[in-house]
Symmetry: C2
Subunit: 259 residues, 2 copies
């Protein structure tokens, strides 16, 4: 398929690279920042531009991977060039309806993963959440998605927003817990690497089991003795102390209910 | 070495099994619950008892892996039988001084990992934090530890308590974030498995990098648009709403400082 890539950030870079490797043709790369456009374009053997009106017409799919705040503006500028081609965005929290009465064939192509510019993503395992405004468009996105991943799912906008919210918890907030661990160890001049096997095992456990069944630690039965010692150790760090208290109560309440 | 195992919970079970596999001799297993003692004893080819006064004398090491709240009481009952043998506990948050003026040779043997009864732990990669009240005892614990793990570290009680606190964040609180994700998906009848590749990658990222450099998500730059939408979606769940707000602010404050 001939795919035009709108955006050159982390998602655009990982998606374009993976699509290129899966034998699709990248017709061009657009980014407001010409250097970013060029950098990605080189990787996928494509022309590039920083001007939306110069994007090639006639691509099979226009994939928009820009920031949520830029999305509407990009669609408004792109809409007159795409004709009957399929246009899809890749954002977790944006409704498909953002395309309504602007383009004819549209959809969403949301890869549920955290991307970095340097680590290359293993797309085969990444859930691709797709939806479209008609069956034909859905089929096109579905075909495209199956060239990349073994886990393609039809997910509507309401579900997708909920998945995105859940992702904030299991990814962004989890990383913040890792950061808190790092901060606490720094204080005692202990290297963060001591925590890595524990972090790995905590994630590994929920690969087979459900997190409600793998909860451990002093908060589960609200072990006052340990919790109070910990709160005292955090007395010089009101932010982590507040988080410790909020999360410990949360864990306790969830598990009390279960008993 | 001849090792007496006091306790038959998750830590005792995993430790005893690993020590047995590493060609140590388990002299006996004690648990207040005779069934638990028997169950573990079978795995490590050892006698068992539910009476502390019946624990064999003359072991090289008495390893106490009981709950924090039971530890002092167990030491008081055990102290007259151990003679000059080494006694060590395995608790993250308990000081080594709990043994002081009760036994002659003592220390701590703390494996930094989350254990379950069913998953068998890969001890080679688990950091073993050890300390002792004299060099000879330290050497014994060090020899024992190196039969199990490639990562043995001398860690004093102050550092160990801080590591334990950090572990609560990266393990217990992280699992609670996974649980929140599960809860949010349940509401939309979406299977938890869609989050698993994301959870895995979030952990994998910090195996090479530091968490302060891998933070992503709407909170990093306090994207009001997304954050307010999310808070609204959580309006029927005041607990997760509160957690969302607390953690988003925490992330923003950390990254604002860095700029």
């Amino acid at each position: 398929m001939k795919i035009s890539i709108i955006g050159a950030g982390k998602v655009a870079t990982q998606l374009a690279t993976a699509l290129f490797k899966a034998d699709n043709c990248i017709s061009d790369v657009f980014s407001r920042t010409i250097n970013s456009a060029e950098q990605l374009a080189k990787k996928v053997d494509a022309p590039f531009t920083d001007t939306i009106s110069e994007i090639t017409t006639g691509a099979d799919v226009y994939l928009i991977a820009v920031s949520d705040s830029a999305l509407e503006n990009v669609i408004d500028q792109l809409k007159n060039q795409v004709g009957k081609s399929l246009v899809a965005h890749t954002a977790g929290s944006m409704s498909m309806d953002i395309f309504k009465s602007k383009v004819e064939n549209y959809g969403v192509f949301y890869p549920l993963q955290t991307f970095s510019k340097t680590r290359s993503a293993r797309f085969e395992e990444i859930p691709l959440c797709i939806e479209a405004n008609n069956q034909l468009s859905f089929n096109v996105l579905n075909n495209l998605a199956t060239t990349l991943s073994n886990d393609v799912r039809e997910i509507n906008s309401t579900q997708r927003k909920q998945i995105h919210l859940a992702a904030v918890f299991v990814c962004n907030f989890t990383n913040f817990m890792y950061h808190a661990g790092q901060e606490l160890l720094d204080k005692q001049h202990i290297s963060f690497d001591i925590l890595r096997p524990l972090i790995q095992e905590t994630a590994d456990k929920v690969m087979q089991e459900m997190p409600e069944n793998t909860q451990t630690g002093p908060a589960v039965r609200y072990d006052k003795n340990v919790i109070e010692k910990h709160l005292q150790m955090l007395s010089d760090n009101p932010q982590l102390q507040d988080i410790y208290q909020t999360l410990s109560k949360g864990i306790y309440q969830k598990h009390k209910k279960k008993e």
